[in-house]
Amino acid sequence: MGVLTYYEKLYTQKYGKKPVVNRYREKWGAADVVDSVDYLNAKALLDYYFTLDGNHKNSLPFFLQNFDKLAVARDARLEDDRRTRELLEKTKELVETEGVNVDGD
């Protein structure tokens, strides 16, 4: 499945209608994305893009123009999620070390 087809699939899933895509024009932008981040990463970025609710309304031109910024934002989020998981463990240990009941009782 090509990037444009995958985009149409995700858009239809989220909004319940097929997007209007000028394939003749956008295929060049999609090719640039694949050249830059490879095909699998392009699809993963599209997955991430459709978790966002901005004024862009998940438009294809916005994605094609901002995929690099989206990659940075996604990586930052993943890193922050990893940090939070680590901190949850450490905090639990800290509270236990301080002799506090962690069950909230």
């Binding site: 966002l52 930052a76 989020r77 949850l88 450490k90 905090t91 509270v95 962690v102």
Partner: protein
């Protein structure tokens, strides 16, 4: 009557200790140092000054003087008198020393003592860290305060994780920043913290620029009730007023005031106006809800400059009033913003100011369609990084602390 008694009387009469605390006056109290220590200790524990009778119960010899001016006036009088006496003694001592010592030695000694006195001529606080005797006295005082406050020198938050990772508690002079996307639980958490402070005997003040004071009162009653009330019942007036009055009498009578200040959505509120409210109500902790709705004292037009100024001005409020200030701030949304998780510090336009000014910054994020509120440290000047979750029932005002993750793992 001595100027020391005048200062203590003014502090008690005006219920205004901050001009005296801000000036490092301790060494000026020569004959009534024990009374002054008692007043300071009482203020640190209870967030207000004792009544004259309360002070007399510990110091029967205390007789208040007839004071009618602001505390600052009597502070200036005490400083001036102390400087006058000490400088006079220093000069006389210098003349006497000249008879038996080399002029260079006398000059060096006088310079050292004069440098110490110069502390009282400005409001900049100096600390010589090689003076371990002074440090020892400070630690003795702090330990005793910590013990009297139940384990932390500041206000305990009621969150086990936060109390463990932020061992000072919400301490005087601290600026605590709560960051979050709009509508994700920042205000609710701050109100919970204020309820905790109030239950410990402190006097909270919330500057509410977003919600009406009545709406905020509904939420605070719901939190205070911890499951007794429903927020929605308050919003509809569907409460049994006899039961409510009975609860109010039992819960709210003879307790510290809990003040909500609102501009009702109109009129600018600056840190200077907050200072006026602090002067009026003498709170022991202040929440500014929220940052973007404040105006800086200089009324800057550029948003980033304005917000950086507000951050700095709130920090000054905390330091000059010797109270903790909580600054609630919304992260800056753009089209790339991922609002599914708690905002990072870089997602606040004036994050540099927060990095400089805040003692602690915490991101708060209520995960949509769940009862989970994620709380993650973004800066902690006084302890380790931390994260925890709250299972919150917003409608009932109850919560439980957990250490799982939003996806249940």
């Amino acid at each position: 009557m001595s100027t020391e008694i005048d200062v203590i009387s003014a502090v008690l009469e005006n219920k205004d200790i901050n001009p005296a605390l801000a000036q490092n006056l301790d060494e000026c109290f020569v004959t009534h140092g024990d009374m002054w220590e008692s007043v300071k200790r009482y203020y640190k524990i209870y967030g207000t000054t004792p009544s004259p009778d309360k002070l007399r119960s510990k110091h029967p010899e205390f007789r208040e003087s007839d004071v009618s001016g602001p505390t600052q006036y009597y502070v200036d009088q005490l400083k001036s008198g102390y400087l006058n006496n000490t400088l006079g003694n220093l000069l006389i001592g210098g003349i006497h020393d000249l008879k038996g010592s080399a002029p260079s030695e006398v000059l060096a000694r006088m310079q050292k003592e004069m440098t110490g006195l110069a502390r009282l001529t400005n409001s900049v606080k100096d600390l010589n860290i090689t003076d371990y005797e002074n440090a020892g006295r400070y630690y003795d005082d702090l330990r005793s305060l910590t013990e009297e406050m139940g384990g932390t020198p500041g206000i305990r938050t009621g969150f086990k994780a936060l109390d463990a990772a932020y061992p000072t508690g919400l301490a005087p002079g601290h600026l605590i920043v709560l960051i979050g996307w709009p509508g994700r639980g920042k205000s609710w958490i701050s109100e919970y913290l204020m309820c905790q402070a109030w239950m410990q005997g402190h006097r909270p003040m919330i500057i509410s620029l977003e919600m009406s004071p009545e709406d905020m009162r509904n939420r605070i009653y719901t939190l205070m009730g911890s499951g007794i009330f429903r927020m929605s019942d308050f919003q509809k007036g569907m409460v049994n007023t006899d039961d409510f009055r009975s609860w109010g009498k039992k819960t709210l009578t003879d307790k510290p005031e809990f003040i909500i200040v609102s501009n009702e959505g109109v009129g600018e509120v600056t840190p200077d106006i907050i200072q006026a409210k602090i002067d009026q109500y003498k709170p022991s902790i202040v929440v500014a809800d929220y940052h973007q709705l404040l105006t800086d004292n200089g009324r800057s037009k550029q948003p980033t400059e304005r917000n950086m100024n507000i951050s700095r001005e709130l920090k000054r409020l905390a330091l000059s009033n010797n109270i903790p200030v909580i600054d609630i701030t919304a992260a800056t949304m753009d089209d790339i913003s991922d609002t599914k998780g708690p905002p990072m510090l870089s997602q606040v336009a004036w994050s540099k100011a927060i990095e400089y000014d805040a003692d602690m910054a915490m991101a708060i994020h209520h995960h949509q369609d769940t009862n989970l509120v994620e709380c993650v440290e973004r800066k902690n000047r006084h302890g380790p990084s931390f994260a925890f979750y709250l299972e919150a029932d917003f409608g009932r005002g109850t919560l439980k602390e957990t250490y799982g993750t939003a996806d249940g793992s």
